[in-house]
């Protein structure tokens, strides 16, 4: 029997509750959250368990939610793909604002190496046990993490592009 979203959800909840939570399906893809101390275990299980078989790491990226509560301001999103049953999942790991630190999965998927470096580069999310964590696209001397929401793209003093005229406020509207 081929793998379905329900089976994945059931198996993971049985195995890892309360470390996994908030299962939901968006546009056919199963997404769920994993507590940060269990992220490596859960992804390892997804990769190595014969019933799961998520052999391919599609994507790793970070997201910044400055409006969320203190302990979930950063998020690392993993997209995993099982090529045998052709099913994808989205794994989210929320991290606190003051110490955004996640477990590196380079030992499971070498493809994560540069993607974790990219996430570090843009969000300052530190991946523990990464073989060579340093900036990748920005220069080494840079002192900020540019994709965080507190860094505006354009000069905020500009008046010719004032969005309040269209009934909007705030930097990212």
């Amino acid at each position: 029997m081929s793998l379905t979203n329900e089976i994945i959800q059931q198996t993971l909840s049985q195995q890892f509750t309360p470390k996994v939570e908030n299962f939901h399906i968006l546009h056919d893809m199963l997404a769920f959250e994993v507590k940060k101390d269990a992220s490596f275990e859960v992804i390892k299980f997804l990769k190595e368990d014969p019933s799961m078989n998520f052999n391919f790491l599609t994507d790793v990226c970070g997201v910044h939610y400055p409006d969320y509560e203190e302990d979930r301001q950063f998020c690392v999103v993993y997209h995993l793909h099982n090529w045998f049953d052709n099913i994808r999942v989205r794994v989210k790991v929320f991290l606190p604002a003051n110490n955004p630190e996640a477990e590196s999965i380079v030992s499971l998927y070498p493809a994560a190496n540069w993607q974790e470096r990219e996430t570090y580069d843009f969000y300052g999310i530190v991946f523990k046990n990464h073989p060579q964590l340093k900036r990748i696209l920005n220069m080494d001397e840079m002192e900020s993490f540019p994709l965080r929401k507190e860094f505006p793209l354009e000069d905020q003093g500009r008046t010719d592009k004032d969005d309040r005229f269209f009934g909007r406020t705030g930097p990212n509207c």
Binding site: D59, V77, H79, N113, I136, L137, N138, S144, L147, N172
Partner: protein
Amino acid sequence: MSDLLLVPEKRFEKQIKETKEKDGVELSILNLGPTHPATHGIFQNILLMDGEKIIDGEGTVGYIHRAFEKIAENRPFYQINVLTDRLNYCSSPINNTGWWMTVEKMLGIEIPKRVQYMRVIIMELARIADHIICSSVMGVDTGALTGFLYVMQYREKIYEIYEEICGARLTTNMGRIGGFERDWSETAWRKIDEFLAEFPAVWTEFENMLSRNRIFMDRTIGAGAIDADMAMGYGFTGPNLRAAGVDYDLRVAQPYCSYEDFEFDIPVGQNGDCYDRFCVRNAEVWESMKIIRQALEKMPAEGGFHADVPDYYLPPKEDVYNNMEALIYHFKIVMGEIPVPNTEVYHAVEGGNGELGFYLITNGSRVPYRLHFRRPCFIYYQAYNEIVKGRSLSDAIITLSSMNVIAGELDC
């Protein structure tokens, strides 16, 4: 924040010193790039060499990083299309269509069959243009410039088709949410037919020149080989993965845009070396032509050139000038005032280099909350130094061109 900053170490200098002290072997550092004619783009590789042999390497990328993901967080959906052009600029229409399909998936828009077939045609033309460059540049890097100049004329013919469809050649900015900006002209259809009639003979000649050429085979067979397990581990997709013998192609695995309606094969290689990558790309050009022919044959007469979505699709210009409602819609769409749900979507298309994915998070505002591009180049290029380790410098050059690393996509 400063406590999160990490200081990189200079490990090669350490290694040179160690081997000199231990075995008396003096290694050297070679700086390949960032602007070297053989790298075909701006990326640097610092290689630790023992004579002609590469002991270790470290890539530096980011020379043309333009912060597209940051810009995208501040631009309405229509304005992001021009950013996708500049990812893999050898096959912009694939990127454009991938982006529109992501937005359409997010909005839940149904696309008419005719538009889907038109998109398939333009994407396959773009794939041919992409593979023409990569395969012929491999010839250039092994010393055969003729083939490159010969097939480049036919890339020009593809660009003329783009020009006919959208007005631009390289950075096409093609399409709209829901379809195309205008119906394709008679000239466009005629040029597609002409291309399909002329190109097979040219491509056969190009293949004849290189694929059984002794010099070319000696240079490429066994060079830059990667096995299937390692390729999958490193996140390879596209022709580079298929050259290693894995038949993963998104057009078949997760068909989008009606690819399930067409019959075509997935060419695979065996050894994952430069020669296999070359052969897989060449074979894919034939498959692409096969798909275009089928799409032309099955093309429905009805269906128009865009979906009926007035909230998202710009109204025709003559209406904008003469009709109040059309003017309002025009203004709203241009200003990005379109209804957007609060959701997350991942959509991927088979680009020229592999799985090109768009991960879009929206929060109901006129701009994405977060947009991440899954660039195939960026992900597989990290294996480059692993592949060339232990090989000679000339192998490293040909490996780089056979992997088709496009700087725009690499650096985003």
